[in-house]
Structure formats: C-alpha cells, structure tokens
Symmetry: none
Subunit: 417 residues, 2 copies
C-alpha cells in the first residue's frame, strides 16, 4: 500500500487557536482512496521545521500532501522550502502572473508586488488551479516520490483536493478501493430510537453500521469490506435495503444529500413555489433554502418578521391575534403562513415562531417552544415542538423540522409517510 | 523560551475518523503556560513511527507531551517505545498493580492479565494518576529534556493534564506567562494590503505580528514577549496603538468581537432600529444579525425578496426600475432600501442585490457583482462590489460588506471613517 505523510503548516495551529481540520479531511480522503497515512506533521511558519518535516516525510512516505503557507506574505514559506528540499527551483510562470493580474483587475484592485510570489513554480511541477482564492497549489513527482502542496484555508484546500489533486493521484498511483460505504440520513427519531429500530442489524459480521447524531439528523453509516469493490458494494447494497425497510419515511436522503436539497427536488419535480415567514429563526430557513444554486426557480422569497409590527405589516397577522395569543402561539404561526400565502400567491408557505432564548422564556412558554405553520392547497396545519439546547441549536432544529414538515407533505402523494 | 513537541498516537487519527482535538487542547494550554510549541507529530499505533516521532521530538524540543497508546491492548505501544528511546526500563510497580486490582474489584470484574502492562513504569518516572480511567500517565526528566505521556481519550487526557501534569511543569520549568497578545480585526483591505499598510511594523524585534485572512476579514495578531507579563503587556499595547494608527477606520473590533456584534452595539447605543432587504444573500444578513441574543431590541425584521414579485410586493420596488435596469442594479438596490424604510419606519435599512452564482452571470453583470444600499436619515447611498469565489464565499462577503457599510456610517459621528 502506498504510504502518505500529511504536513500542516501555520503558526495559528501551534498556538492552538485553530483546529487542524485539514489534516483530518486529508486523512479521511486519502484513506478512502486506498492510501495508508503513516505520519502527520504540524509545524509553524518556520523554515527550519518545515524543512525537517518535508525531509522526514520524503523518507517515510511515497507521497507528501501539505496544506498552508502558499499565501503572498512573508510568513508563507511552504512552497520555497519544499522546493529546496526537493532540489528544484521556482521561477516566474507567465500564465500564472496573468491569472493573478486578472484576478485583481476583476476586483478593481491593484495587485501588490508580494503576490508575484504566488506565480513562482518549478518548471517540473503541475500547477493545481485555485478556483476559490489566489494561491495555486502544485504537484511534483521526483525520484519515485511525489509531493503535493495545497493552500491552508479549508474551503480552498478541500476544493483543490477534490477538483485537481484527487484525479491526479488516482492516475499516478493506480489505486483500487475495496471498501463500500453509504450513509442513510434520517430526521424524526433520535439516535437511540434509530438504534432500537435497527435492532440486530447493528451487529452483523459482514458489514458494520455506525450512528452519528448531527443537528437533529441521525446519519446511519453502513460500510462493507470484501475482496474487491464489486463484492463490497453488493454486501453494502443489501445492508442499505434492510436499513431502509426499518426506517421507512424517516429517511430523507443519502451521503451528501441535505434536507433542503430534498425539499428543493420535490418542489421542482412537482412545479411548486414556496415562500417562508420566520420569526425566532431570523432568516436561517430562508438562508438554508437559498444555499442551493438555482433556488429562485421554486423560492419566491421570505419575510423575517422579528417584530410584531413586521408581522402585521408584511404578513397581515391580525393585531388581535398577537394581543390575545402572543407572537409565539399556534394562532400566530397559522396566520403568518396563511397571510404570506395570500399575499404571494405561491403553492406552499412555511412559518416558524418560537423562543430561541436565552432570554424571553416563561413558565408557560419556555425557551425552546416553537410553532411551525404549513399552508398549502390542502389548508393550514400547525405543529408544536419543544427543543432543549442553546440558541443556535434551537434555531437549527426549528429550521430542520420545518423543512421536514414540508418534505413529508410533498412525499405524501407518492409513498405514504 | 522552552520548546515543546506534541505527539498524538492512534490509528483512528490516521484514518481521519477522529479529529485530533488533543493536539489542539495541548497546544493552547502549553502556549498559555509560556511554552513555544514547535512541532506536532501524529502517528498510528506503529512502533516504528512512534520511535521516530520521539527521537525527532527530543532533538527539536525541551519537552515532549504525548497522548494515546497507554491502554492495555497490543496496539498500545507509546510507553514502551518512549522508554526505549529514553533508554529506561519499565518494571512492575507494586502500588500501581494494587491500584489496578482495586479498580477492577470495585467494579466486580476480573482484571485481565493484559492490564498489568499499565502498572509497568521506569523507576525514574513520576507516575501521573488517572482519576477517570485505568491508564496512568508518566513524567520523566533525562539529560535536560523531559517527556510526559498522557492517555488518549480526551476526557482522561484533559483531566490528567490539568490536575497532574500542569503543576509539575510549572514547578520543573519555573514558568511564568510572559507573552501578551491581542487580535485586531479589520474589514476592507485584503491581507496583502494590510501587510503593505503595516509596513515595517511587520518586522519588529520586540513584538510579532501575524496576519490571518478569514471570510473577508483580516485578523492582525499582535504578540509580545518580555521578562514578565506586565512588561509584555506594555509592549503589546504600544504595538496595538501603532497598528491602529495605520489601519484607522478599517478596524472594527478586537479578539472575540464580531462585525455584527459591533453593529449591534452601535445601534443599541444610539437607540436606532434596523431592517434589511436581501436578494442574493437569501436571508444570511438577517440570520447573522439575529444570531445575537436580544437583537429584537434594534432589529425590526427583514425581507428576502428572491423574486421580482417579492421586490414589488413587499418592498415597493417599481416594476419599471426592474424592467429598465434589472434586479441587480444600483437603482434596484436603492429602491429596496428606501422602500423598506418607508414601510417599516425604522432609522436605517440595508439592502443587498447581486449575483451569487454559479449561474445567472453575464459579461455585463458577472457572478460576484453585488450592489449594497443603505438608507437612513441622511438619504440613500449605493455601493458596487465585485467579488470572486464560489456562491457561499460571495454571499458571506456581501453580508460582511453590508454590515461594514452600516458600521462606518454609525461611527462617522464619532471618529472619522
């Protein structure tokens, strides 16, 4: 098996102010790809220690993947140090200079001279484009060893790994995976309820199931290993079917699926439009729905009615309702949903009103009390929920529950929920 | 300054299934104690790589702190390997044997023979008791170097560090914190522009400045070391003043401050109310503003007008404006802000309209083009911005820029922006 050494550079890591999530991401991805990660080094922005890490890594592994230290500033030392260790000489790459100049021109900004450093590469290297930031990465093979340099910001690093480095590694190392995995995603029952529903499936000899609770969702991770990938996939597929049969309508998706993505597909397939009215979630439901590119196809817009005035003025909630039942009540949730539906003329509206805390709770209406409204061609329904946790957790759980309410409504036509 | 090497062992780390939070915890604690963490190694449960890590660590640092590999099973190799490298011989410690037997007796369980391994220590070592699990740690000083071994489970490791190791380190290394830090947070100029503005401040002998770019913000991290903490703080304070003098109105906060938190304070102090109208950011600005508990004091609410219809219906944007100039135009941004201000009667409204991508761009109006509107008692102003990056980055940058526009407006009364 091909051995890998992962190097992370950055003084912020050594101070403990930043968790080295890059090393974890790369360990997972490279293991999945079939590599064996043997060592990981984390060093500050120090030429001495960066040099030692690369020297050791080349001795211990067939491939080094590093992240960090590709920026334009003085303390970005990874590229020049790695090149020294490899005995190659970075020179100005004219295409990269042009790309950098374009980058700054598009932003109407002068390019600082320091940035030219980011256009220096040894001629032997393959340049890995950075579609997210200014620092390109590189891949270089020398004397039976390979070194890949990725940028430090996790989003840039992950994007470059997936889009540029992984395809190169697959080709250069002719790798064959033997483990098949799938994650089944569930909303509704908690982790221990899922465990009880799965029962004996949790302890089978030829595949393994692990549960992960995350923001109200439960992820059921199925993995199977066999003598080749085809056989592993067959075992995994059988296990996934058994899990699905136990969890039925609670399953909303697989692997990278999201609840909002599932809702988006259902709305698009059925040619429906959605608008939302939020209070305690403050725009989070709207934000999550519009995280999806192209959401303007089915998303009309939203109102975050954080004040009673906004509820009356933008959603036509009756002042009497607010006075008699309060802003956090099933009556207000219903009027928020129906008011916005009448105004916008869309097919479905979702509403959320509740107490996210830490303040604003009472014995009668405690922090965590949330009402969801769903208005559609079938009429309007309201659901009461009680969450426990801090402000952020309550807001996330409220948003997920609202999305799930709509998901179950939209799937009711097809399979029974 | 005393140098530290941190070693984490455990195959689960190399597979990426577990994040190495121990290394982060120890980095923070040891830095706060006055040590300089120079290298971190993460290795699997392999004698070869554990030996290399300890050998390297002893060369590079005055102190090694490791976590993991102290358990009773075959793959727990840290203690025996570290002892080999140090040239010391673990022998059965009778007190520890007794303690282990008691531990199992209290739980009415038979002690597996394998556990005896956990009672083996070199006579030179100080045994660090484990009040949470079965594996004790150890501390040993040899030839001017010191090595501490802690268990892997984070709860056990953290407890042992705080209760047993930290007091020993304070005594043995006669440490007194001598480093003073502050982070100055900036929005507006990019990382290399900040570096250019700071000029020679970046390279001073008695304090150090590191820059970190994060979601459009630049964090200027100032740290000063001196013979005692008081003097370090004085040097740091002088450095911070010099940095502030260069960056003036671009500075929005310090340390844990956030941009939205700064805006919240300004609105509250001045008794002002805010409402926002968003398009491409889809509710993110509203969400960020309401992340802050108590935001209902100054936040009226928001409209996410994702469709033209919503812009007309909820914000009174003129259909002619949309037809003539388009939804992404300075004219629409202005009408969104003024329309919502008239409706809500609040002091200030912010608006955002733009193209977050990946679709929807054109040569004339590319992905990343964003217009911000700010309406207030002074009238309405519009700002044009061009961002480069993916959808999420563009949305975050647009939200930060909108908050910064308002921050600069609200501070203009006091210090000139």
């Amino acid at each position: 098996m091909q051995r890998v050494c992962i190097i992370s550079t950055g003084t912020e890591l050594m101070l403990g102010s930043t968790v080295d999530s890059n090393a974890n991401f790369l360990s997972r991805c490279l293991t999945d790809l079939g590599f064996k990660v043997v060592t990981r080094y984390t060093v500050g922005d120090s030429e001495e220690y960066i040099r030692e890490a690369f020297t050791q890594g080349l001795r211990q592994a067939d491939l080094i993947v590093s992240s960090g230290g590709l920026g334009p500033t003085l303390d970005d030392l990874t590229k020049q140090t790695a090149c020294q260790v490899l005995g190659v000489q970075p020179v100005l790459n004219n295409e990269e200079v042009q790309r950098l100049r374009d980058f700054f021109r598009r932003r109407n900004r002068e390019m600082p001279e320091a940035n030219l450093k980011q256009a220096m590469f040894p001629p032997e290297a393959l340049i890995l484009p950075n579609r997210v930031g200014t620092a390109p990465g590189m891949y270089i093979a020398r004397q039976g060893k390979a070194v890949a340099l990725l940028p430090g910001p996790p989003r840039e690093m992950e994007h470059m790994y997936r889009s540029a480095l992984e395809p190169v590694l697959k080709k250069e190392f002719s790798i064959e995976p033997k483990v098949a995995r799938q994650t089944i995603k569930v909303l509704g029952p908690g982790e221990s309820q899922v465990e009880a529903l799965l029962g004996s499936l949790m302890e089978q000899p030829d595949y393994s199931i692990a549960l992960l609770a995350k923001d109200g969702e439960v992820h059921v991770k199925v993995s199977a290993e066999a003598k080749d990938l085809e056989q592993a996939e067959a075992i995994r597929d059988r296990a996934v079917s058994l899990v699905e049969a136990k969890l039925v309508s609670h399953v909303f998706g697989y692997d990278d699926d999201t609840l909002e993505g599932r809702v988006a597909v259902l709305l698009e397939e059925q040619g429906l439009k959605l608008a939302v009215a939020e209070s305690c979630t403050g725009g989070l439901l709207s934000k999550v729905l519009t995280d999806i590119p192209g959401s303007s196809l089915y998303f009309w817009g939203s109102v975050c009615s954080y004040s009673n005035e906004a509820k009356e003025m933008l959603l036509d909630v009756n002042p009497d309702t607010l006075n008699r039942f309060g802003a956090v009540s099933p009556e207000t949730a219903a009027e928020m949903a129906t008011g916005l539906r009448s105004r916008s003329g869309v097919d479905y509206t979702l509403s959320i009103t509740g107490i996210a805390g830490p303040g604003g709770g009472s014995a009668e209406k405690p922090v965590g009390l949330v009402f969801l409204g769903l208005a559609g061609p079938e009429g309007c329904s309201v659901k009461e929920l009680r969450f426990v946790g801090h402000r952020e957790a309550i807001r996330i759980l409220a948003v997920k529950s609202a999305l799930d309410l709509l998901r179950r409504q939209l799937t009711r036509g097809g399979s029974k929920a």
